[in-house]
């Protein structure tokens, strides 16, 4: 596997500053989109600008990949530069500079590539919003791409944090894109606030890093790590990985902070595909991979990551099994797959985690985009009970079959790319010397079976079976007829459905179909490195990419787990680890698919019967109920955090209303009113009333003055 080497020292290469265009172009495109927005451009100018900028950005990254020779640091301009002394901890600088190593390029390749493809997809998908938010949408996309590029390419943690917050902002803006819908607004707020909790951890982690190392630049931090001697478990050193971890968990929707991601599906589907499936949510994986050496500052830090990842994978998979909304199923599958990535990072295979990120980015973007195409065509219908047999409708074949590709990949069907990437993670876990990691490995295999089941539950329900569909709630606005029925009877034949029915699903056109095909192709292609390794016994490209960066440099870690695994060839079920895992993995995947086939294609009634049977038995009833209600996590959070806060705010509101306002403000104001009432009879409107008041007042003043005067004289 890997051997223990020091992180290569980055050289400063100002001549590579053209790579900065990858950062600049999305920003310029964002400005242009904002201008389109301000000028109320009705056409698709914003989409064209965005697609061109992102494609150029992708081209630059590809060029940078071919020009790559070793880790480089590309200064662009001085950004933050403070110095208040000569010592080590007496300066603070964070320049706008790029740190380009293989991990950066690995990430940027799929971020910009998928960004371009999804922008093309969105140019057709969002055309209903032309003139009313179309430019705004692409503005959000550009801001996202800029932020994500800054996050990945920045040469210091401040740049990373800038990008981190920028993607959070873009996510918020795009989830709440349709701000007229309260659900979208609430989802946007939820995502933003939950991310704040994680961001607090990240910010504190960055503070701690500076406090301990006096710098935030990767190259200097890694140099400090290379020197060693930092492994002492000091309180403020060992807290760094946990703080960084909290940030990663927030952004990547892991267990304490995962509830925002399913709700984020309120955003437009391209956003779900790009931000909430393929790229932004992998920022947590990137952060941990980038800061991998620092996770040894505490011996249990990576174990925590592994446990959180494994448990999240299982939990999200169980919830995903019981959801009916296609996008929500995919959202939970995203959380589950991210859990796998964290499991991989935790058990020590950053290669497995990063490779899984890559494969996941393709097949999950593909799945979301097919779901989006269905939603687009069927007027917002996403309930998998109300859609069936779509592959029979002409024009929907590409969607159906590319969705099948996505589902196969997601369920880690043998010899797909995802099979290999998941295999890398589970192999590392199962061959670990730690028993709890091995347990997590078996848990991951069980989860893989669940994944295969719920994935194909979707496909068998939606694309296979007899033709039947009901349009969604948006049918009223999209229908061309005078009358849009709210419910539809089953239609068994496609021509009948098309000819005499008021609702016509409109099939996707070239932009959506083309992108789906390219993504399906991409999902196949990302398997090539694994095929190379498995069949041609060549080097795995992805592994090379990861190995050349900081992600592989766990100083003591590779020794503990990885090298041991390669030396002793531990067994899985009495067989060679690779063979055994392949057999078990294939069994899990195919078993899950077969179960899904039985319940959701073979005899659909039996699924309901099973559910009813489970609900009848009191000792097992809680399982379906909890799964359908997402294990009540939202409710628990509501009860533990929102309710006390709400109560506190009510108490403060009461105090403010009745004490501050009631007593202090209004009460004080009542005094002059009362005094005024006392004197009101003096101002009855009669002229002499005023005059006598004046005379009396003068008499009083004169009496007082003369009294003072007399006292002074005598």
């Amino acid at each position: 596997m890997t051997q223990l080497t020091s992180i290569p020292q980055a050289i400063i290469a100002p001549e590579l500053s053209w790579v900065g265009l990858a950062l600049l172009l999305p920003l310029l495109a964002a400005v242009a989109c904002a201008l389109c927005c301000a000028l109320r451009v009705k056409g698709k100018a914003a989409a064209i600008i965005t697609i061109l900028a992102l494609a150029a950005s992708f081209g630059i990254i590809v060029k940078a990949y071919f020009a790559y020779t070793g880790p480089v640091q590309v200064p662009i301009f001085q950004w933050i530069d403070f110095e208040w002394g000569a010592g080590q901890f007496q300066s603070f600088n964070a320049n706008c500079a790029l740190y380009i190593d293989t991990l950066t390029l690995f990430w940027m390749l799929f971020v910009t590539g998928l960004g371009t493809l999804i922008a093309i997809y969105a140019s057709e998908y969002m055309e209903g919003y032309c003139g009313s938010g179309y430019s705004r949408f692409f503005f959000g996309i550009c801001i996202f791409l800029f932020s994500m590029s800054a996050l990945v390419m920045g040469d210091n943690l401040i740049m990373l944090y800038l990008g981190w917050e920028g993607v959070g902002l873009a996510s918020y803006l795009l989830i709440g894109f349709d701000y007229a819908r309260p659900a979208a607004v609430a989802a946007g707020k939820k995502a933003f606030i939950m991310n704040r909790i994680g961001d607090l951890g990240l910010a504190l982690g960055i503070f701690m890093l500076w406090a301990n190392y006096g710098t935030l630049q990767y190259s200097e931090l890694f140099a400090a790590m290379n020197k060693g001697g930092q492994t002492s478990v000091d309180w403020d050193l060992s807290v760094i990985p946990f703080l960084l971890m909290l940030g990663a968990f927030g952004k990547s929707a892991q267990i304490p902070l995962f509830t925002w991601l399913p709700d984020a599906m309120e955003g437009p589907t391209p956003v779900s595909a790009l931000i909430h499936a393929a790229t932004m949510v992998t920022a947590g994986v990137y952060l941990i991979a980038r800061m991998y050496p620092f996770f040894e500052l505490h011996p249990e830090a990576l174990a925590t990551v592994a446990w959180v990842g494994g448990l999240t994978a299982l939990l999200a998979a169980t919830i995903g099994m019981a959801q009916y909304d296609i996008k929500r199923v995919f959202a939970y599958s995203t959380i589950s797959q991210l859990g796998y990535m964290f499991l991989g990072l935790g058990v020590g295979t950053s290669f497995g985690a990063c490779y899984h990120t890559l494969t996941h980015a393709f097949f999950k973007a593909l799945l979301f985009l097919t779901a989006g195409a269905i939603m687009h065509g069927f007027a917002g219908q996403l309930d998998l009970r109300k859609l069936s047999g779509l592959r029979h409708i002409p024009g929907w074949r590409i969607v159906s079959w590319t969705m099948l590709v996505g589902c196969l990949w997601l369920s880690a069907f043998p010899y797909t790319a995802a099979f290999f990437s998941k295999d890398a993670i589970l192999l590392q876990a199962l061959t670990s010397v730690r028993a709890d990691f091995r347990f997590l490995g078996w848990l991951g295999l069980f989860t893989a079976a669940l994944t295969a089941y719920y994935t194909f539950r979707v496909w068998f329900r939606v694309c296979a079976g007899p033709l039947h569909f009901e349009p969604g709630a948006e049918a009223h606005s999209e229908s061309h007829d005078h009358h849009a029925p709210s419910t539809h009877a089953a239609h068994t034949t496609a021509p009948a459905a098309k000819s005499d029915h008021s609702f016509h699903p409109h099939a996707p056109r070239w932009a959506i179909n083309g992108v789906l095909l390219i993504l399906a192709l991409g999902a196949v292609v990302v398997g090539v490195p694994a095929y190379n390794q498995a069949f041609a016994h060549k080097d795995n490209w992805a592994q090379q990419m990861i190995a050349g960066s900081s992600a592989m440099q766990g100083a003591g870690l590779a020794e503990d787990h990885g090298s041991q695994a390669s030396v002793e060839h531990p067994k899985v079920l009495g067989m060679d680890a690779h063979t055994g895992l392949t057999i078990v993995g294939c069994t899990a995947s195919i078993g899950g698919i077969l179960i899904a086939w039985y319940f959701h294609l073979g005899s659909r009634k039996s699924a309901d019967q099973l559910r009813a049977a489970l609900l009848r038995r009191w000792w097992i009833r809680w399982v379906p109920i909890c799964m359908e209600n997402k294990w009540y996590v939202d409710e628990i959070y509501h009860f533990c955090f929102r309710l006390p806060m709400w109560l506190g705010s009510q108490i403060l509101y009461f105090a403010d209303r009745h004490f501050l306002d009631g007593v202090m403000v209004d009460g004080l104001a009542k005094i002059p009113i009362a005094v005024g009432k006392l004197f009101r009879p003096l101002y009855g409107g009669a002229l002499q009333g005023y005059a006598s008041t004046m005379a009396g007042g003068i008499a009083l003043v004169v009496a007082w003055l003369s009294w003072i005067w007399l006292r002074g004289f005598n």
Partner: protein, 328 residues
């Protein structure tokens, strides 16, 4: 104790005034008048007792007390008489007796202007307006005056407020030690101010110098830059040029050559208070303009008409215009 006695005198005068305002029978009013006059007399006696007066002063003092009684009594009649015309006429009496007191206080110019302006001009205006606004005898009926002229409003309260003012002021004045009150009067200062005023009037100064010595051709500044040097015996020395001499010589002016009150007032008016004089003129002008505006026929005109008169278009109110269009 003097203040206590003074307060008692004030109380008696106040009681008399209050009773007069209460408007009862004729005998009652006589008694009230006597009570009030007694109170005022007592106040004056207290004051005169308080200040030692040389025998030579008895003449002016007696005159002043006489005028005081006329003035106060007619003032009381102004506020108690039922018929406004008589009130105005009593006010003339107040002004005239006041002018007499002014003369006794050596302010002749102001005294005469007071009579001219007040008794002559202002009071005529008052009478004119009274005639203008008087109800016809038919309206008045058998009573000699309308209700609002006969019945006073809360006389007791008003009198208390007024006389408390007098009591506290007078009481405090009486508490001041006599030395302090005496020291305020500074003869030397008066003479110095008088000569100073004269020095600012070169023509009059030359005239006074000629009256002393007919050969004087010009008065020149003295060596210390001043025109006049005041002597301790209240005479003054000035430098003059004579027709038969080339050098300047000193000339002593007797105190009797001090300028008259009227010329001093005129001088002060134009030298010390020129801005106030201008402002007084502006006030009079404004009053004239105001009177013109008030005298114009007051008619209530609507905003639209006002806009039309000013040459502006009418304001189109949509909320009003809407229904009209709908009706059409």
């Amino acid at each position: 104790m003097v203040p206590t006695i003074f307060y008692a005198a004030c109380a008696i005068a106040a009681a008399g005034l209050a009773l007069l305002l209460m408007q009862s029978g004729k005998k009652f009013r006589m008694g009230a008048s006597i009570l009030g006059l007694a109170g005022i007399a007592w106040i004056l006696v207290i004051i005169i007792q308080k200040i030692p007066t040389p025998a030579s002063e008895f003449g002016p003092l007696g005159l002043m007390i006489f005028c005081a009684f006329i003035s106060v009594a007619s003032a009381v009649r102004v506020i108690t008489h039922h018929r406004p015309v008589f009130c105005a006429l009593y006010f003339v009496l107040v002004v005239v007796s006041g002018a007499a007191i002014y003369v006794l206080l050596s302010a002749e110019f102001v005294a005469f202007s007071l009579v001219i302006v007040y008794a002559g001009a202002i009071l005529i205006t008052y009478l004119f307006v009274l005639m203008l606004a008087q109800q016809s005898p038919a309206d008045i009926g058998s009573a000699d005056a309308v209700d609002y002229d006969r019945i006073a409003r809360e006389p007791a309260g008003a009198v208390i407020a007024g006389f408390v003012l007098i009591a506290v002021l007078g009481g405090s004045v009486f508490s001041v030690s006599e030395q302090k009150a005496q020291s305020i009067l500074d003869q030397n200062r008066a003479v110095r101010l008088g000569w100073n005023d004269l020095s600012m009037m070169p023509k009059l100064l030359l005239e006074q110098a000629r009256r002393t010595d007919p050969t004087v051709t010009a008065v020149v500044a003295r060596t210390d830059g001043q025109m006049i040097a005041v002597q301790p015996d209240h005479s003054a020395i000035i430098s003059v040029q004579r027709a038969d001499q080339t050098t300047t010589t000193d000339l002593t002016l007797a105190p009797s050559l001090l300028p008259e009150n009227t010329s001093r007032v005129g001088m002060a008016l134009v030298t010390k208070f020129p801005v106030s004089l201008e402002l007084a003129g502006i006030i009079l002008l404004m009053a004239m303009l105001g009177a013109v505006v008030l005298a114009r026929k007051q008619t209530d005109i609507a905003d639209d008409d006002r806009r039309t008169l000013a040459g502006m278009g009418k304001v189109m109110d949509d909320s009003l215009a809407g229904p009209q269009k709908a009706n059409r």
